[in-house]
């Protein structure tokens, strides 16, 4: 039995970039990528790595320098704008939304490719708009004006608009920029739920490593060689490609915490830490920020953490003193 292909969009030998009078400026090249239905794919890269350029190119807004983008097997440049708009919808970084437009009116703009010349909404259109607003949890704002919404709510409205456009592929450019942590998490969870529940292929760009690692089903990682490594986030972590992609001086990937850390060339005082794993994790974080190195080997300074999570105690070996907070502990260490 043949396996059903899940790939909806793919690229072959794609080079994206800019062309001007001075010549060709490739930003990313040799891209052989594929986007699958039912998955949230994150395009991860540093600022200026070419995330938006790639997104604009595979979204058909910008022309590729080389290679081809295929939408369901058809070259994207051979698809006319109207048909493409029924297969692919976008949330862009332009944060210009007209304040006098109501949420309902903005979401209903998503029906643009389907409505008549005047844009009159049929009952079917209205049903789809309703479902889009329900799925994104913005029904209660329906009659509010865009200007009255918070950034997080506005982003949900823009996502609802793409749902109203009823496309199998959705691209979002930096959808969580400007958002605080709870809002970021909410948007990521919403997008993942949408991908899984409605079997859409969702691609978003982000420079937020932790968010991408935690939520992406698939990662497109822009590396230092101006191309892209793609795979499961955890695979890219373990084979070192992620660390390589973000490689900078004085920056090191912490494989335990899944984040990057600054490293300094200065010689550090080594401290051995013992105790409950959660307490150890946060103590370590404070010690490392203060410039100490936590080591599993025996050391002159040893800290033993006792007590429970609610009332932990830190015991320092060299003066045999117990501290109730990490702050007090650090004051003692720094005075040493």
């Amino acid at each position: 039995m043949m396996k059903e292909t899940r790939t909806i969009l793919n690229t072959t030998n794609l080079t994206v970039g800019y062309k001007d009078k001075k010549g060709v400026k490739p930003v990313l090249s040799n891209l052989n990528l594929s986007l699958e239905k039912g998955k949230l794919t994150c395009l991860l890269g540093t600022n200026g790595a070419g995330k938006s350029t790639l997104m604009r190119t595979i979204g058909g807004i910008q022309k590729p320098l080389e290679g081809e983008v295929f939408m369901q097997g058809k070259p994207i440049r051979s698809i006319d704008a109207k048909s493409l708009s029924k297969q692919l919808s976008l949330v862009l970084t332009d944060r210009i939304a007209p304040g006098n437009l109501t949420v309902y009116a903005l979401v209903s703009l998503g029906r643009f490719p389907y409505t008549s010349w005047l844009g009159t909404l049929s009952q079917k259109d209205k049903d789809i708009i309703f479902l889009a607003m329900e799925a994104t949890g913005i029904l209660e704002f329906a009659n509010k004006h865009i200007g009255e919404l918070s950034d997080g709510e506005r982003q949900k409205v823009m996502i609802a608009r793409t749902l109203a456009q009823d496309t199998e592929v959705i691209f979002l450019d930096e959808p969580t920029a400007h958002l605080d942590l709870p809002n970021r998490m909410e948007i990521f969870h919403l997008l993942r739920a949408l991908a899984v529940d409605s079997d859409k292929a969702i691609l978003l760009t982000t420079h937020e490593l932790d968010m991408a690692l935690a939520n992406a089903d698939h990662l497109w990682l822009i590396n230092q060689n101006q191309t892209i490594d793609s795979g499961l986030p955890e695979d890219l972590v373990l084979n070192g490609l992620l660390e390589e992609a973000f490689q900078r001086d004085q920056l090191q990937f912490d494989y335990e915490l899944g984040t990057f850390k600054r490293t300094s060339t200065q010689k550090k005082i080594k401290i051995k830490l013992e105790g409950d794993s959660i307490l150890k994790r946060w103590t370590r974080s404070a010690l490392e920020r203060a410039g100490y190195e936590v080591t599993p080997d025996a050391s002159d300074i040893e800290i033993r953490i006792s007590g429970n999570l609610k009332a932990p105690l830190w015991h320092l070996n060299y003066n045999d003193t117990t501290y109730k907070t990490i702050q007090e502990l650090l004051i003692q260490l720094n005075n040493q």
Binding site: G59, I61, A81, K82, S83, L84, S85, K86, L88, S89, L90, L92, D94, I96, A97, P98, G99, N100, L101, T102, Y104, A105, L106, L109, G110, F112, P113, T115, W117, L118, G119, K126, F130, A142, N143, H145, I146, G147, Q165
Partner: protein, 352 residues
């Protein structure tokens, strides 16, 4: 979703109210002037009935009716031109006059007036007959279109709206400079006529020409209404509009063509009338608190007509023989209204 039907009802109510206001002001505009004519007599005359004072009948049918209709047409046309420019450039300060479209139309008219060497003021357009009036309309539309195409060409290179606006202002300045050099080398008599034209006048259009103007403006209004959906999509910016399947290049061309027909024709017949094009779209958005062009197009048409009628009534200085230039009145009356609206509603900036 109940509130959405409510919104529709509010829209219908507002449009009815504005329609009634337009009719009342239309009758007042005809009734008021150097000679005061009772509204009942105005209605009778308009309905084709005889009234006792045959002099009044002549004034109404030959002078005031064409002027009032011209006022409505001019207000509607300039407002819709402004609405389209503001949406296309996504700039609250855009309008036919700011982006040099009116200046372009002036250049066209100046070319005809100053180069023709004949007396061709708005007052003598009548003497030129149909050919002459068409010459002025075509010249001003071509002038408006030329400047707009230039602006459009530059706008392909510049994506920033504020920069675009400054460029538009500069293009307007260049156009005005060309006209002023032309004036410098022209006969004083011709210059005077041109200057008279620049004051703006709603009274220069005869009954016969009114037909042509009405057809042009009506076409423009209908075209704009057909563009409502396109204009709505452009509210989100060109990239979004394109992603929704809109052919942005054609949309730009259509919007600019419609605007130059509307603004060009009115400028040709009535002179460069400023302010209305910028103010009315803002007034309409504020009144209905919407950016939906399907509502804004009819609203702007009505509000534009209402505002021009008010300005015309004031410019006639009821009860006196004086007539003030309409161009000064539109700015004098309109600017404070706009300032008041902006300060009160605070949602002007939120529109873009």
């Amino acid at each position: 979703m109940n509130a959405i039907t409510q919104g529709k009802r509010l829209r219908a109510k507002s449009l009815t109210l504005l329609g009634l206001m337009l009719i009342v002001l239309f009758l007042l505009d005809i009734g008021l002037g150097s000679v005061r004519i009772p509204v009942s007599d105005v209605i009778k005359t308009l309905l084709g009935q005889q009234i006792d004072n045959s002099g009044w009948q002549g004034i109404i049918l030959k002078i005031r009716l064409p002027r009032a209709v011209t006022a409505i047409l001019a207000g509607a046309a300039l407002s819709l031109g402004g609405l389209q420019m503001q949406t296309l450039f996504r700039n609250p300060l855009a309008g036919p006059s700011v982006l040099g479209i009116t200046a372009g139309a002036s250049l066209g008219v100046a070319a005809v007036m100053l180069a023709a060497g004949t007396v061709t003021t708005t007052f003598s357009i009548r003497e030129l007959g149909v050919d002459g009036s068409w010459l002025i309309i075509i010249a001003s539309t071509l002038g408006a279109a030329t400047v707009l195409m230039l602006i459009l060409g530059i706008s392909f290179k510049i994506r920033d709206n504020v920069v675009m606006l400054i460029v538009g202002l500069m293009v307007a300045n260049i156009t005005i400079a060309v006209v002023s050099i032309w004036q410098f080398f022209s006969d004083p008599e011709q210059i005077q006529e041109y200057i008279l034209w620049t004051f703006g006048s709603l009274g220069g259009v005869t009954n016969e020409q009114l037909g042509a103007l009405a057809i042009i403006v009506l076409t423009g209004v209908i075209l704009t209404f057909f563009l409502s959906k396109t204009l709505n999509a452009l509210l989100l910016g060109e990239d979004y509009a394109q992603s929704m399947g809109l052919n942005v290049k054609w949309a730009r061309v259509a919007i600019i063509a419609t605007t130059s027909i509307l603004a060009g024709a009115i400028t040709g017949f009535c002179g460069p009338i400023g302010f209305v094009g910028i103010a009315v779209p803002h007034l309409s958005r504020s009144f209905l608190n919407t950016s939906d062009h399907r509502t804004l197009v009819p609203t702007c048409t009505l509000v534009g007509g209402i505002l021009m009628l008010v300005c015309d009534i004031i410019s006639q200085v009821p009860g006196s023989q004086t007539v003030l230039p309409i161009n000064a009145i539109t700015a004098l009356i309109g600017s404070p209204i706009v300032i008041w609206i902006i300060v009160k509603r605070k949602n002007l900036k939120a529109s873009f």
